[in-house]
Amino acid sequence: MPPVTQEYEAPDAATKAARQLETLEETTTDLVGEKLVLNMGPSHPATHGVLRLVLELDGEIITKADPDVGFLHRGDEKIAENMHYNQFVPYTDRLDYLAPLANNVAYAMAVEKLLGWELPARGQAIRVICCEMARISSHLLGVGVFAMDVGAMSVFLYTFYEREKIYNLSELLTGARFTTSYTRIGGQIRDLTPDFIAGLKKFLDEVVPVIDETDALLSKNAIFINRTQDIGFISKEDAIAYGMSGPNLRASGVDFDLRKAHPYLGYEKYDFDIPIGAKGDCYDRYLVRMEEMRQSVRILKQVLANLPEGPINVAESKGLLPKKEKVLMKMEELIHHFIIATQGIDVPPGEVYFGHENPKGELGFYIHSKGGGVPYRLKIRSPSFVNLSILSKLLPGHMLSDIPAILGSLDFVMGECDR
């Protein structure tokens, strides 16, 4: 495709002056100086990290909101251009750090799509387990923190305790609690252990009562309802126009889930429902997350009930690192091992986009390859960044004290937003 270029005319003196006047006018609508500019964040407990909101207040009413992102920018996309595809996997842990397993899967799937590789059935089932575990973990925290932001502390304690069990499980699965780095291009580093499967079964039985308990504490709680219902209303059209995704989009009543719309990893085999909201306010976003957790439990039970046997990675001959036992004893395999480790997986030239239904929304990786082991350009479409773009439209008109409820219900994570 030829590069698209667009020419901008340099503004002449008259337009420049007019523009300046415009900005001047904008700042001087407030003639008596009644409005207050307030900086919320970048280190405010309700902003879940380092989001800064520049608010203009008229009394307690927000008249203008300007989210300022980028405090956690690490240049992940540029980093990716300087390393092999496999070496970038640990960096994906640090995008949405509340669901690292799902990020690993999303990234590996994107590169595999470019390569045209498809995992064997067991490998796919393992990835589904990873994604749904990550979803439950992220939503448990999302709902808990949301409740804490609007003043219900104890819910957070109970959901957080449950989430801890997921970390114990991912420790069993990957060897690390948080920075999982579980997938590789063409597979994963380790098969499921019997310990893990037993642990996951036990967890699935234990998590449902906790979801019910959270439901009992919040859903009919008049204080929670007063703080969330009819607050932060996002219409269907706005949600689509601002490119929102994930539970936030579905809470506005848009029936779109990538797992159903473009099934991957064999999601079409599992029986699950997509919850959508009727109104699109904070309370609906809470309800959708609660229901998604139940649906994830349902999916996980189905995966565990008929877990396929067999290999977990694509065939080694496609260009994976050879098995360690062979490398240690055989000359040819050793040479092969060195070639693959130093040159990386040879990815054909081309461009690919893969969107994955992450707990926070559509996490997309756009990869432009010119062949070889290193991407020419890697773009991360992070759901939190896109979801936050609606803030400047959503916040004006609300009270200052509604901000924790709105931010909590949007459930974003800055590690991914700023990448």
């Binding site: 104890s154 420790e171 690390a176 920075t179 308990e213 919850p275 309800l287 690192l321 240690l328 130093t342």
Partner: protein
Amino acid sequence: MATITVQRPKLAWHEKWFISPFIKGMKLTLAHAIKNLFLLIGRKEKTTMEYPEQKWDSHLPDYYRGAPALVTDEHGRERCVSCQLCEFICPPKAIKIIPGEIPSDDPWAKVEKRPKEFDIDMIRCIYCGMCEEVCPEQAIFLRKDYAITGTSRAEMLHDKKRLYEIGGKRVGLVNKWNELK
């Protein structure tokens, strides 16, 4: 496509007036509090762990990814042959190796190379385990140490001596050099 619309509960008058949610909430939180109290008395596994005194270590799987370290074999031979593959693959470039030759009068002269210097910068290391994954000699392993702290940058730079100290000896690995004539 199976889609369900989430339903909002209708509130009865006692729920609107905070009466029953209050009682229900109190009941639930009290139940948790009493349960934890009994766990405390019974000294069973509690919700929290008093970290430096109690440790999670017994739960760690064998493949837990803690601090990387070098290992020697049964005879005290340095397993690393300084092929520098781990240095190459390490994503944050935490490893620095200066290869050295094994003198010809050494009993392991046939191995030919070993590292003269081998530094891992523990401030850079992200515990990804790629060094262990690519090492063709089973010379570098991630261990179950996670509490790595130091008061200076120099202290956080694990040199070769330190790495062998924490790595120690590993038996039961493939010993191709011992069989090779």
